[in-house]
């Protein structure tokens, strides 16, 4: 890839008999907001710690601008980290915290202080230079951690779930700010999170991980709309997964038979299969008259979500589907137990490996 800053090449990590990373390979571009997304225990934090140098790799290479940094100790890698619980030095002031990395790199006090002040200005903390971390709120501490890691201008900034300790409102505000700071500084951010909303709203590209493997790498849109497999479809957002027999596949288009007998065409990455799983997002299903429906179902429980209303629908074969209806004035909600026609919007369904 052109402009690759970090190339993770078949990285293995074993803890005793447990394998945390199975030959993970990912290329991260310069100036990119790259997210490692996955459930806890998927290896995303381990991978981040391998890049930072806190965990020695068991195999593979981590190349920074072509040079393998895997054998280097953390203090020789031009990479900085924002820790989940910030790890600010409690005995130093905010300014001293931000100067720490620069001084270790051999900067003079005056230059280091100037740069640290700039970094703190970037995160709007100029008024708190003389405070100690214990005197700051969680959000302010998080900014200090960010300024401290940005001050030495690393080639890559690693962020280990930095927003998880903040409350919801603050988290949403900081998201936008982080993204903006990434744009301004032009430093590649590698962001670890288990929060898919965070990943979708901030990232240029996302690597979805599970069980120590990368399941899919792509833009938020690609990940959400064209999931590579069942895990990705299920983990990102909500989806309906329906087991279906495959009638025919050609040129990335599959013909499948829906429960109830109706055949539809949908995109797929599969080349050849007789059985598959159809993934349909709940918001891409509409209600319609049974006569023109793709699926016939019985209306079940409703959950009121504010902007949306979630409706459970039971197919004749016992499968349960979820439909999301907009909470608009025109929306007519079916009575529980009523017969429903469900229509899949064009391109809504996607065939995945069973």
């Amino acid at each position: 890839m052109i402009g690759t800053v970090i190339s993770i090449d078949r990285v293995e990590k074993r803890f005793g008999t447990f394998t945390a990373l199975h030959g993970v390979s990912v290329d991260i571009a310069d100036n990119e907001f790259f997210t490692l997304l996955g459930p806890s225990g998927c290896g995303k934090t381990t991978l981040l710690r391998c890049i930072a140098g806190f965990e020695p790799v068991s195999g593979g290479q981590i190349r920074l601008n072509g040079e393998d940094i895997a054998p280097l100790p953390p203090y020789r890698r031009p990479v900085n980290t924002v820790f989940q619980h910030y790890a600010l030095f409690p005995h130093m002031t905010v300014l001293e915290n931000a100067m720490f990395g620069l001084q270790r790199l051999g900067w003079g006090v005056v230059d280091a202080e100037g740069r640290a002040r700039q970094a703190l200005e970037l995160v709007h903390l100029s008024a708190f230079l003389k405070r100690r971390p214990g005197q700051l709120s969680g959000g302010q501490q998080q900014r200090v951690a960010l300024a401290r890691a940005l001050a030495p201008e690393p080639r890559v900034l690693l962020l280990d779930e930095p927003l998880s300790a903040l409350d919801l409102k603050l988290r949403q505000a900081v998201r936008m700010e982080l993204k903006q700071i990434q744009r301004e500084t032009g430093i590649a951010f590698v962001f670890v999170t288990h929060d898919q909303e965070e990943a979708l709203t901030m990232s240029d590209r996302i690597a979805v991980m599970s069980d120590g493997r990368v399941q899919q790498v792509g833009t938020p849109r690609e990940i959400y709309e064209s999931p590579a497999n069942r895990f990705v479809a299920d983990f990102i957002g909500e989806t309906n997964l329906i087991e279906v027999p495959v009638l025919n596949i050609s040129n990335g288009l599959a013909e499948v038979s829906l429960p109830g007998g109706r055949a539809i065409q949908c995109p797929t990455r599969l080349v050849d299969a007789t059985q598959g799983v159809l993934s349909v997002r709940p918001e891409r299903i509409d209600l319609c008259a049974p006569s023109e429906a793709d699926l016939i179902a019985t209306a079940g429980a409703q959950v009121y979500l504010g902007t949306d209303i979630q409706l459970k629908a039971h197919l004749a074969g016992g499968e349960q589907m979820t439909v999301r209806l907009q909470n608009a004035a025109a929306t007519v909600l079916p009575q529980s137990g009523a017969r429903l026609g469900l229509r899949l919007e064009a391109g809504a369904a996607r065939l995945l490996a069973a």
Binding site: P74, F89, P90, P152
Partner: protein, 306 residues
């Protein structure tokens, strides 16, 4: 240190209890068994000595005069500075300081080791460190005398193995006293340092390494400052009792390793005692300790204010 605890003052005081009631027993104990005897001691130091021990209620500065000034055998020579007792004090401070440094050098890695084990092993190691201290200090000091004396097992083993061909002659030296002090007070260093290291957040070390600090720099700039309260507590807990120790110098030391503790002890023991002089020595010792502690407290408040 005050700046380190965030948000302690928030919330209701209902469950913090009543300060006066909580402290009442402590105040009673300190008042009856500490303040009154210390004040008594202060008064005694200004009284006249009774030859068979005890005091005569006649106020005089003789005890302090005797401590600092030499007026000859019959008290009629011109006064010159008396170096004997100042020398004993100086040796005591030096010995106690050295014991403190030794305890720190050995206690810190020990405490670090224990604090980085898993929770179950920590308890086991702490027990191992403290078990010897269930034996009376006198017995332990006597055993040490037995161990290091010229005819003892240490010299015997070294001579048998051919490393030395004459006994080391450690007993009755400053070195023997030093060994005794160091050994007596080591746990007082290990325990507070352990408590501080156990609370240490190791992600701070990772953060420092991430910010280009080598291992040595991390120790110097992050670990030591963060665990400093534990180190200071340990140093005080070792230094203060070492300064006043009398068992180790009495049993392990010779005439040239006499320390303050022994000097004071002798003044109150038997018929040869001089109570006012012993009391004055104790007052001077206390003054030194207080000055050291106050100077430290001052430096701390200045540090947190800036």
């Amino acid at each position: 240190m005050a700046a380190m605890a965030p948000g302690g003052a928030s919330g209701s005081d209902i469950y913090k209890g009543n300060a006066v009631k909580l402290l009442l027993p402590t105040w009673l104990v300190i008042g009856v068994f500490l303040l009154i005897p210390v004040m008594l001691m202060a008064v005694y130091s200004f009284l006249t000595k009774e030859f068979r021990g005890g005091v005569i209620w006649e106020f005089t500065l003789t005890a302090y005069d005797q401590f600092f000034l030499n007026r000859g055998l019959f008290g009629d020579d011109p006064a010159s500075i008396e170096w004997t007792y100042i020398g004993i004090f100086w040796r005591s401070i030096w010995q106690a300081g050295l014991a403190t440094i030794l305890c720190l050098l050995i206690g810190f890695p020990t405490a670090w080791f224990i604090a980085t084990r898993d929770a179950r092993m920590r308890t086991v190691w702490l027990l191992i460190v403290t078990v010897p201290y269930w034996v009376n200090l006198l017995i332990r000091t006597v055993s040490m005398k037995f161990l290091i004396r010229d005819e003892g097992p240490l010299n015997a083993a070294l001579m048998w193995s051919g490393i030395i061909d004459a006994p080391l002659g450690i007993i009755n030296t400053n070195l023997a006293v030093q060994l005794g002090l160091f050994y007596s007070y080591l746990p007082f260093m290990v325990l507070p340092v352990y408590a501080a290291v156990e609370r240490y957040d190791f992600s701070l070390s990772e953060a420092a390494a991430d910010l280009y600090a080598s291992r040595w720099t991390i120790l110097r700039l992050v670990i030591l400052p963060v665990v400093k309260p534990g180190i200071i507590a340990g140093c005080i807990l070792v230094f203060v009792p070492s300064l006043g120790a009398f068992l180790a110098p009495d049993l392990l030391g010779g005439a040239k390793s006499f320390m303050i503790g022994s000097l004071i002890e002798e003044q109150f023991k038997g018929a040869a005692g001089n109570w006012p002089f012993g009391a004055a020595s104790a007052m001077i010792l206390m003054a030194i300790v207080m000055i050291v502690l106050l100077a430290y407290a001052r430096s701390q408040t200045r540090e947190t204010r800036t």
